[in-house]
């Protein structure tokens, strides 16, 4: 029963994705290629953000704090 509910949930949202981006109208092979392309792009995006985002965020916070606490000393870090 749980599998049915999960399947319904996924198929509903898959259809919404197909209709909203108009991938519904493409041929089956085009659909597969487009889905693969989208998954690859999303995977790369997630990987990049997982690896680099904490460091970037920490540096931004550091810069903002140092700017707030005292005037900026333009000397490079």
């Amino acid at each position: 029963m749980v599998f049915n509910r999960v399947k319904n949930f996924i198929s509903y949202w898959y259809l919404q994705y197909l209709l909203a981006t108009s991938v519904y109208m493409l041929e089956p092979i085009e659909r597969r290629i487009f889905n693969c392309f989208l998954i690859i792009v999303l995977a790369m995006f997630m990987y990049t953000s997982y690896v680099f985002l904490p460091d970037h965020a920490r540096m931004i916070v550091y810069f903002i704090n140092s700017y707030i606490l005292q005037p900026e000393i333009v000397d490079g870090v």
Partner: protein, 639 residues
């Protein structure tokens, strides 16, 4: 001004509005002799005495310069008021005046730019001058149209989806050049020095975007397209490049045919009369109207159409498209101006272009824009030479089939009388479908049919036949009988079709001594109001007037509209899809064409399915309160 002055020079009205104040001040310097030469001579015979002349000119000069001619009731308007124009005696002044006039007046017109409130193609404040406000009659309070805009994320998603389709299409083109993939379009070798056979965007759109949804259009049917029809099943083996019929057919409820009064039947009194006429008169008449092709039955039809419309005479043409395209060139020519609505049908556009007249379009159903263009036309006149236009013709349609909007006819007639233009009304979709007696948009507003110079319509939609008609004054129809291309070159209507029109018109007029006509008209009206109100209550965006039997429900995204149509066909309903290029790119829609032969159960079935699909596809985008109006016009009048 009536069409009897067809061959004479038209005269333009100098009304006292701020836009042309310059001209009246300048023209006040005309001498008495010049005034006499230009228009008093035309009106009065040469034996008039000087006192009469002076009394005439002084009275009329003061009339024109001090008083607005269009005030008070309509009957005052019909008296002839002479007009000060650049007559024949003013050539020397013309050159000096024309540059000055055109510059000042263009600035003033652009400074007071007015556009319409709530049309699909523009909206802003609506301003009216004082003398026009008194003519806001009761019709405006009962006139309701809506063209709602969707939320912004819908438009963004629609554009993204088109972007994806275009990118994929370009990929396929590129792969085709490399030889990968099966693309079955016609490719031509790139010969330098020759124009390409296929236009870039239109052909690209057709091959890579339109083709993907082609099974929703051009469906073949196996039966008469009445309230229900048999659609032949077809499958595609190569992704919609070609189709193959399987041999079976599905019975569906027909919401795709124009069958407003339900005369599209193959049984009944009309069909029996048609059989009899074929036995008597044959299948086709192989001669043109001016030679041997005008039979007694055609004369009967012409007289009946004239009687139905309330005009003096009518002429019929065997093809609806040709009625427009072949008769407009006989009415206007090279020195005339045509002001046509921007959403006019292709036949009207073709007729206007063939005639050789100058064409200007005004915003859809926007009377302020039309008035601006009329004023510009009268002041600036022809573009290079600044001669006056020979005629100004306003071309409008009764109901616009893609939008479901009804023309604001009282305003058009008011402007026509004020600026002395002519009106060509194309009632292809509105004849038989609206109005308390089914006589079209003129009946709907309660206006006089003699106000409209040229009333055109077709028999295809409400009468179950083919062909078109043009109605007007006897003098106009006599001119068309001689000069129209369709009267000279095309053969006349087949007797079976003529008989079908005659029988159906007699039923609508009630001359067959039954209440069938009234029942059909009332059923259509009830269907229209019920269906539209239910759709709006559910929350869909529906365009158009509350009374138009064409119901365009907008779905915006191309994938959704294709899914909707396919799902409906699987479940027994046939609807039409309207997408680019018939409608704007992001506003594709599903069009329901209601009919008097649809029962309430059929409408309920469709509404239930639309409700379910609206939830699945998230189409319930309307953010306005549904308008409150009654089931019929009697309930409207009670308010």
């Amino acid at each position: 001004m009536n069409i009897d002055e067809f061959s004479q020079k038209p005269v333009y009205l100098a009304s006292k509005s701020d836009v042309i104040q310059d001209t009246s001040r300048i023209r006040g310097r005309m001498t008495i002799r010049e005034i006499y030469n230009t228009h008093v001579k035309e009106e009065f015979p040469a034996s008039q005495t000087v006192q009469a002349l002076e009394s005439v000119t002084s009275k009329r000069m003061t009339d024109i310069l001090s008083e607005a001619p269009f005030s008070g009731s309509v009957t005052e308007q019909t008296t002839r008021i002479p007009v000060l124009t650049h007559g024949n005696g003013l050539h020397q002044e013309n050159d000096r005046l024309k540059t000055k006039l055109s510059v000042t007046n263009k600035q003033r017109i652009n400074g007071h730019r007015r556009s319409c409130s709530e049309t699909p193609y523009g909206r802003s404040m609506q301003k009216k001058s004082e003398m026009d406000i008194q003519h806001d009659k009761k019709w405006e309070s009962r006139f309701y149209e809506s063209f709602e805009d969707p939320p912004i994320w819908t438009s963004i998603l629609t554009y993204i989806s088109f972007l994806i389709l275009i990118l994929v299409g370009h990929m396929r083109e590129f792969l085709k050049k490399l030889g990968i993939g099966r693309v079955k379009n016609i490719s031509e070798p790139n010969i330098p020095g020759f124009v390409t056979l296929y236009q870039t965007w239109e052909s690209f759109y057709h091959w890579y975007i339109f083709r993907r949804g082609k099974d929703t259009l051009y469906r073949a049917i196996n039966s008469v397209p009445g309230a229900e029809m048999d659609v032949m099943d077809r499958v595609t083996d190569d992704h919609y490049w070609t189709f193959r019929y399987t041999g079976t057919s599905t019975r569906v409820i027909n919401f795709g045919s124009y069958n407003y009064l339900g005369f599209s039947q193959n049984t009944g009194p009309c069909a029996e009369a048609v059989e009899k006429s074929v036995n008597e008169l044959g299948n086709a008449i192989c001669a043109s109207r001016q030679e041997l092709g005008y039979l007694q039955i055609h004369k009967e039809l012409d007289d009946l159409v004239a009687d139905y419309l309330g005009v003096e005479a009518a002429i019929t043409v065997p093809m609806g498209f040709a009625t427009n395209s072949m008769n407009l060139p006989a009415l206007v020519e090279k020195g005339c101006l045509i002001l046509s609505d921007e959403l006019n049908h292709a036949s009207l556009i073709l007729g206007c272009r063939l005639s050789g007249a100058q064409i200007k379009t005004f915003k859809h159903n926007c009377m302020e824009d039309l008035e601006e263009k009329l004023k510009e036309a009268i002041i600036d006149k022809q573009p290079r030479t600044h001669r006056k236009w020979k005629k100004i013709l306003i071309v409008v349609e009764g109901i616009y089939s893609m939008e479901g909007s009804i023309v604001k006819l009282p305003d058009v007639i008011r402007l026509k009388k004020k600026y002395k233009a002519y009106v060509y009304l194309d009632e292809a979709h509105s004849i038989g479908a609206i109005g308390p007696h089914g006589k079209g948009v003129v009946d709907y507003f309660g206006m006089d049919p003699k106000d409209i110079d040229i009333m055109m319509g077709t028999f295809t939609k409400s009468f179950g036949a083919v062909g078109g008609y043009i109605g007007g004054s006897k003098r106009l129809i006599n001119h068309l009988r001689l000069r129209s291309h369709s009267a000279i070159y095309s053969s006349t209507m087949a007797p079976s079709i003529v008989q079908q029109v005659i029988s159906s018109m007699n039923i609508i007029l009630g001359r067959d001594n039954s209440r069938d006509g009234i029942k059909r008209i009332n059923q259509l009206k009830w269907n229209t109001r019920y269906f539209r109100r239910r759709l709006q209550e559910m929350g869909f965006i529906v365009y158009g007037n509350k009374d138009s039997p064409v119901v365009p429900m907008v779905t915006f995204s191309p994938a959704k509209v294709v899914y909707f149509s396919r799902y409906c066909l699987e479940h027994g309903i046939g609807v039409t899809v309207a997408a680019f290029p018939a409608v704007p790119l992001e506003k594709s829609r599903i069009r329901f064409c209601l009919s008097a032969s649809h029962t309430k159960e059929m409408l309920d079935k469709v509404l239930e399915m639309t409700d379910k699909l609206g939830d699945t596809l998230s189409l319930k985008l309307s953010r306005k309160e549904p308008a409150e109006y009654g089931d019929s016009e009697d309930q409207d009048e009670e308010k």
